[in-house]
Symmetry: C2
Subunit: 338 residues, 2 copies
């Protein structure tokens, strides 16, 4: 590869390495026009390209950040990454992606790998299982920005959707269509504040419209095992919901699959609104109405915040919330009965 180094340039321009280096870095303060010209020519003639590794060694900066996500092939995730990457490139940074596949151990390993690699900072959509570990890295001086997920609330820098407001609006949207028994389908709350926020939004919409909260309408889903209670049986139960409000694309997808299998029609038999936009929804048998997040903006904002943290160590922590919006499609119908 390119074997031309700074000494070669310096020699050809008949100056010292130091002067050549100054030129490369645009510090022409005490350098005659002729010298500048000579160096310029030498660089051009030799096709010289500075070695960033050597530079980084001295500066102790890598101009690289790490991004830890669950899976880059996720629809929203891929856009978050795009946002991160676009912002990075615009400021001369590179992003290294680490996929955890929802495994906290892989997450911990990724964190350590990025730390050892001495990336300048990390953006993480964390599992919540490694909170102490993450705090350790922050204490060691690694700037870290959380995205998408807030856990115990100890996160200092984070960018997320305004989950509470979004859930409130989605719930109210259904209520205004006449729905009163709305099934809220979520993953176990655990210590995930972002999930709880959605719940609070749901609850406050019910409260505003004087609809009593029915605990049986809170249904749980797990990535590994699916629904705790089959959607069919939930529909047939006493609480007999007229609408589902699913909290993740994965839940929406699995619900749709279940309903299809049971030949339960949407929106005739039950209405659905889901969190997260759906690819190619326009071609669905029933295009699903969703609460759309802004993954691209989240990626951009997260990177912006991270770079600020990297370049200004005493920047105060920030929590930024990004509005969601309802994309109305055809999975919710007016429910006229009491």
């Amino acid at each position: 590869m390119a074997k031309v180094k700074l000494v070669d340039v310096a020699q050809r321009a008949s100056v010292s390495k130091s002067t050549a280096s100054q030129y490369i870095n645009g510090r022409f303060d005490y350098m005659s026009k002729q010298t500048q010209e000579r160096i310029r020519l030498a660089i051009k003639d030799l096709d010289y390209v500075p070695n960033p590794i050597a530079r980084n060694l001295k500066s102790d900066k890598t101009k690289t950040i790490g991004v830890i996500v669950r899976d880059i092939t996720g629809f929203d995730t891929s856009y978050t990454i795009r946002g991160v990457d676009d912002y990075c490139k615009a400021f001369g940074y590179n992003a290294l992606i680490y996929n955890t596949d929802f495994d906290p151990e892989t997450e911990a390993k990724s964190l350590e790998a990025l730390y050892q690699m001495r990336v300048d900072g990390i953006i993480i959509a964390s599992s919540g299982e490694n909170n102490t570990l993450i705090r350790d890295y922050i204490d060691k001086g690694m700037p870290i920005v959380h995205v998408q997920l807030e856990h115990d609330g100890s996160e200092k820098n984070l960018i997320l959707s305004d989950y509470r407001k979004a859930a409130f609006e989605a719930t109210e949207y259904l209520i205004k269509l006449g729905h009163k028994r709305i099934c809220f389908v979520t993953q176990a709350f655990k210590n995930v504040k972002s999930r709880n926020e959605r719940y609070l939004g749901y609850v406050s919409a019910l409260e505003k419209h004087n609809i009593p909260l029915d605990k049986d309408l809170i249904q749980y889903w797990q990535r590994e095992t699916g629904f705790e209670h089959a959607p069919r049986s939930v529909l047939a139960s006493n609480s007999s919901p007229t609408a589902f409000f699913t909290q993740h694309l994965a839940i929406t997808t699995e619900l749709l699959r279940h309903l299809n299998e049971e030949s339960i029609s949407i929106p005739e038999d039950v209405s659905i609104i889901g969190f997260d936009d759906i690819p190619m929804a326009e071609f669905f048998k029933v295009p699903i109405t969703v609460v759309k997040q802004e993954p691209y903006s989240i990626g951009k904002e997260a990177t912006k915040l991270l770079l600020e943290n990297i370049n200004d160590k005493h920047k105060h922590a920030q929590k930024i919330m990004i509005a969601c919006s309802i994309t109305e499609r055809q999975s919710c119908k007016k429910y006229l009965l009491g």
Copy 2:
């Protein structure tokens, strides 16, 4: 951040930097057990982590590869990236993603950026507009593997789907359903061999079944301007196709949109088979039958080949083709008339 360096370890273990370095690199050949133990402890006590930048400087390797794609948010592309990344991580490499958004100029810039960064190699799904440039980089010693696209055939290392076979099979699939007038919808061939290969597959299936080739059934689509002839008018023309065979997800999508708008039913009015799998196809009004590529495998194989090239300079070039498969859904029906 971690300020502990090799000297600190050496000092604490009362050995020289050299010996400590040997230990770090697992060369215990001439080192007493006690010394090893002392160094081991020193590393542990000090929580020492070697600085990869310093290492790279000496080895002139970055343990990083570049990946140039059109857009990481693409469905297939995201899986290709996943394949690349998984393989990379397994061998201690990192992948840097560069999105070009189909712009040859951005592609050229990405190439240059990666070159300047001294990545160990590059995987590229190229536009075909920068072939000479790419050749220059190869000549400068940069290992480059092409994926997904073959252009003038001068590409030495490449991994792609077996387009000809796949197109043959898709066409034959339609023929066996009774279709004779199959509209082949493609981007302009230009010098893109991969597109031509598909065409050849289509043609040879027709030949095998003694169906004359009708040039009017070759229809063109462009990313910026869409269809050259509206699908509606193609259907109404003399060649009146009974099936469409679209060569890209983007084409399939736009065709679907057109047909929807014109209330042309699939598969009643016309059958469709498309290249590239479709996300969430199971929930479509009409789930589309597709020729599925294996983007994940392509990513893996490409990386495997690239790493081989990086570590064995005299490896001979390889062209690897990966089989596609038809995923039968509901967009093709038997066509019984002549």
